[in-house]
Symmetry: none
């Protein structure tokens, strides 16, 4: 079974930032968490706001918390706002239900971690996360809405 | 007076999971709390998100907190979102107002604990909680909306 | 690679309680966490204090937090009290440095979770945790002091 | 004025880990914060405890919090334990007063950030932080005790 190690997590971070640079995106913050929601690798580019570390980690943590990528979480938060208000408190603010939180899966379909990216438009953040995960030889699950 | 003990609480957990398996449900997290809101028995099935323990416990704790099952809480949260935002803070995030939090009552009508289940649709979570409570010879109150 | 699933975690809980019964121990609270520190299986016996769930989970979480069993943590806490006061705050109270928090390892030596037990003397709590882990076919690391 | 940017922060992290590898140290967690105490770059090596991210960040944050490296903080915590217990609460657990939290200064003597490292003995953690900072062309202040 493939799991997430620092080498793969660092590759995800660097590939995500390479993709952002190639597309001329705004400065990004990239966090990679393991399956338990604990930080493995992180980079915040220059000239980014001081809440970005919490947002990037919250996108990833929220995905792991519910077992759903941020795009699916965003849809659910729109349909059930009171539930997501409760989740924000229950998680001490660690659930940020927005695209850009992407589950990392291995070939067996196990969740081995998550990436959270913040700084550009949510769709762009997500595209960088997906690119980074695929460059590391893993499978990205951004959360398809139903 | 019948109260909740570990034997009954464990029976509730296992019966709820048997019901879920017989219905082909998604993997569940099941928490049983005593009347004081303290955990007695708990099982989390494989491949479930890391926030599920807090959600399952929050459904049960919220029911005990207000003396109302999660279905009634959900209706109230829809009508009074600011109040439930305040409750989330007041309870340190331990109130999750969603079906699937079910009060456990004895024959005298006393609340002796609560079950919280998370993982499938709220209606399915609730059905498993009710089934488990009844298999343990106790009375389930999921919270009828008014 | 062997990891921890609900079946093994439940076996650990039940075997630990069987051992306690065979030795005539006081009522126990047993928590099994996965490698990320999230609850998998839990039982609290009748007539136990309401802080026991937090203590049992804190013994297990502290072991995972530092990668050291509770017996080693207890020794370190005695030598470096200010550091452990800081850890209590940094972890939001989830580090309880006492014997009875035991790491669960697989044959490859990976940490796959932890058991925390509270209710009897720390040495007895620890003995039940070790017994439970071994009955589940896994390797117990209670933390040898140096 | 030289300030800390992502390029320098990443250089610090990687150089610290190279030094640790050359000395055969245990797996480390390395965090670099900017002058405002916000995360810039971070790596956690494989097989490290789940509290290590908080400890590494807490060593760096505590140094920035008091304007003193972790070695000086450790000495003060020993002399004034009640004050540091209060700081732990006041900072929400973000002050870890132990060697291994090292201020980063520029040629003008301004504090531009801090490094926190956790995983090996505090002296070794600190040596890696100092090495990393110097490799990035900046000045390390580990906090001389008085």
């Amino acid at each position: 079974m493939t799991s997430l190690n620092l080498e793969k997590a660092s590759r995800i971070v660097d590939a995500a930032l390479e993709h952002a640079a190639s597309q001329g995106m705004k400065p990004l913050t990239v966090a990679v968490l393991d399956a338990g929601g604990h930080l493995v690798a992180f980079k915040r580019q220059d000239r980014t706001g001081i809440l970005r570390p919490a947002i990037a980690q919250g996108k990833a943590w929220g995905a792991l918390g519910m077992g759903l990528g941020g795009r699916a979480l965003a849809q659910r938060a729109e349909m059930a706002p009171a539930f997501f208000t409760a989740l924000a408190s229950a998680s001490d603010g660690r659930v940020i239900p927005v695209p850009g939180g992407v589950l990392i899966k291995n070939a067996e379909g196990d969740v081995v971690g998550a990436v959270g990216i913040s700084g550009d438009l949510p769709d762009n953040d997500e595209a960088c996360a997906v690119y980074g995960i695929e460059q590391a030889g893993l499978i990205a699950d951004p959360g398809q809405p139903h």
